[in-house]
């Protein structure tokens, strides 16, 4: 009896997906889900493993992740070494040959990406933990176009018949990014060259695109929580550079930043790092709408 109920549960699960769309896609991050939905339209049913308010470096596996992966036609990952702690293991457990690395159903969104902070000599002691370059590249909207191109390629590999639809959606996506980019650039223009402090080294792409200057990080080295000497250093930098903002992410504690804020009057802004970070951030475009609204308000 139990056996039957489990079967029906799985069957129902699979069926639910089948009605929503023909191509089943699993992405690691919500941003990839958002972009896949925009490119795939009603041809895809997408689930994301991580939520938008979770630190993408750490995800605690649940059975449903593996079940979703075992039935997927396409798997989309940020790649580099962002998800190394969990996605390769989940992928192996799924035993789905269609979406393993190198198979047509495997999409590495970082392909042809212009990466920043690629270490010349991988020296872990210097803090170059990301040996392939900084993996937080989706925080530059123009990189979103590269991601979208990679996803479209993947969809066309598994469903060549609908190539025209995907290409048309891709063109619309790119146009939306270009249109919105004008608006975002205009909003950020008055603050060009503004010096800020970031909690973790994940804003380098955003910083370069919108002409900000990240002077220092709350973390002395990526992944190491703020130390007393680092707090003193940051406080001095804030005072000497007249810095107004510390940007942080939903999954980091703001307690250290709050200490600095009390000492200096700097504002602590929690930015959206991914789609779904906050209830209002529903799509990839919303991430930038939200972040730019937050940061311009704080810099004023």
């Amino acid at each position: 009896m139990k056996r039957i109920s489990i079967f029906t549960a799985i069957a129902f699960f699979v069926f639910q997906h089948a009605v929503a769309g023909t191509i089943k896609v699993v992405t690691t991050l919500t941003d990839l889900k958002s972009i896949t939905e925009l490119i795939g339209g009603n041809k895809v049913a997408v689930t994301s493993i991580a939520t938008g308010y979770q630190n993408p470096h750490f995800v605690d596996p649940k059975p449903s992740y593996i079940i979703n992966l075992s039935g997927a036609d396409l798997f989309v990952t940020i790649g580099l070494d962002l998800e190394t702690g969990w996605s390769p293991q989940l992928l192996a457990s799924s035993r789905n040959t269609k979406i393993q690395k190198g198979a047509p159903g495997y999409v590495d969104a970082s392909e042809n990406m212009a990466l920043l902070q690629v270490p010349t000599a991988a020296n872990r002691a210097e803090g170059d933990i990301h040996i392939y370059g900084n993996p937080h590249y989706w925080l530059d909207p123009l990189n979103g176009k590269v991601i979208a191109r990679n996803i479209a390629n993947g969809l066309e590999r598994v469903d060549p018949a609908d190539k025209a639809i995907f290409e048309a959606n891709l063109a619309t996506f790119n146009k939306t990014i270009d249109d919105k980019m004008k608006d975002w650039q205009a909003k950020m223009a008055p603050f060009k060259g503004s010096k800020i402090i970031a909690y973790h080294n994940e804003w380098v792409y955003f910083e370069k695109r919108f002409g900000l200057e990240i002077v220092d990080f709350m973390e002395p080295k990526p992944g190491i929580p703020p130390t007393p000497s680092q707090l003193v250093k940051v406080i001095n930098e804030i005072k000497s550079n007249n810095i107004k903002v510390i940007i942080s992410s939903p999954y980091f504690s703001t307690s250290s930043s709050d200490v600095v804020a009390k000492q200096t009057g700097v504002k602590v802004v929690t930015m959206a790092t991914s789609t779904g970070a906050f209830p209002t951030v529903k799509t990839y475009f919303d991430v930038f709408d939200y972040d730019i609204a937050q940061i311009t308000a704080a810099l004023k």
Binding site: I6, F7, A9, I10, H57, F58, D60, P61, K62, P63, S64, I66, I67, S70, T84, G85, W86, Q89, L90, A92, S93, S94, R95, R124, A125, E126, G127, D128, I129, K221, P222, G223, I224, T227
Partner: protein
């Protein structure tokens, strides 16, 4: 649930881990050294932190550290009645935790190394990992089966407070700590720290609450570990919860039931007498 290969793998790993750890747990609880697991786990973390710091030996150094720690612990022999072995183990735990934090603070993403190397997830265990686990755990189990009496008379002398009879270097005490050290390193790699601690302590304590007979205690502990693996993974599967925490919750529930049983039987005995 068992139509899916990864759940079968998880259950196999849970059974192997559960059987050995619940058996060793009877010794650990009897000797009153329940923190030995956390202390050895922490020494293993220190090993990972050290390996990440010097940039090499991520698999060998933690093992060497843990076995050395186990060896040192087997030498702990306190003659002063005011002190308990547990206190020394607690100190080791705190001391090695602090050292780990110090080393990590100078190692970029040392934290994530520790996560990756030490804390496995039972849902993504592979067959080669299960084979290794089976060989190591099988060997430990075999040794304990052959020398069952030796190990138990040793634990009983600790239970009776006769530890001064054990001697500074006792080969069986040494082998016992090596078993614990190896079991913890391999089990934590697959299950994570808290599930391993629970597998070690909860079945043994619950079984002691239920029975007074030594052999019955071991058998009940086995059964509890199997039930926890089965119902824990079922619970995780049907309601989509992280597997390790589900198993621990089921073990916790079994402990509560065992406590209730203990209270009720004691009350019944009082009434009848």
């Amino acid at each position: 649930m068992f139509q899916l290969p990864f759940m079968v793998q998880a259950f196999t790993a849970a059974v192997i881990t559960g059987i050995l750890l619940s058996y060793l747990g009877v010794h650990v609880v009897g000797r009153g050294i329940v923190f030995v697991d956390l202390a050895l786990g922490q020494i293993s973390s220190l090993g990972v932190a050290f390996a990440a710091f010097i940039g090499t030996g991520l698999t060998s150094i933690p093992l060497i550290f843990t076995l050395t720690g186990a060896l040192l612990m087997s030498f702990i022999n306190i003659r002063d009645k005011r002190l308990k072995q547990e206190a020394i183990i607690g100190i080791l735990y705190a001391f090695t935790s602090a050292l780990t934090v110090l080393i990590i603070s100078k190692t970029p993403h040392g934290d994530s190394d520790i996560q990756e190397v030490l804390f496995g997830n039972i849902l993504s265990v592979s067959w080669p990992q299960i084979t290794t686990l089976g060989i190591v755990f099988g060997a430990i189990m075999l040794m304990h089966l052959i020398f069952f009496k030796k190990f138990f008379s040793l634990t009983e002398s600790f239970e009776n407070g006769e530890n001064h009879l054990v001697g500074i270097f006792n080969i069986w005490n040494f082998l016992f700590y090596i078993s614990i050290g190896l079991a913890i390193v391999f089990a934590v790699k697959i299950n994570g720290v808290i599930p391993v601690f629970s597998y070690l302590i909860i079945p043994a304590v619950s079984a002691i609450l239920i029975s007074k007979n030594k052999l019955t205690v071991i058998i009940i502990a086995f059964i509890i570990s199997l039930l926890a693996g089965f119902f824990g993974l079922n619970f995780s599967f049907h309601y989509d919860f992280p597997a390790g925490s589900s198993i621990v919750s089921v073990l916790g529930a079994i402990f509560i039931l065992a406590t209730l049983y203990n209270i009720l039987t004691n009350a019944a005995r009082k009434k009848s007498s």
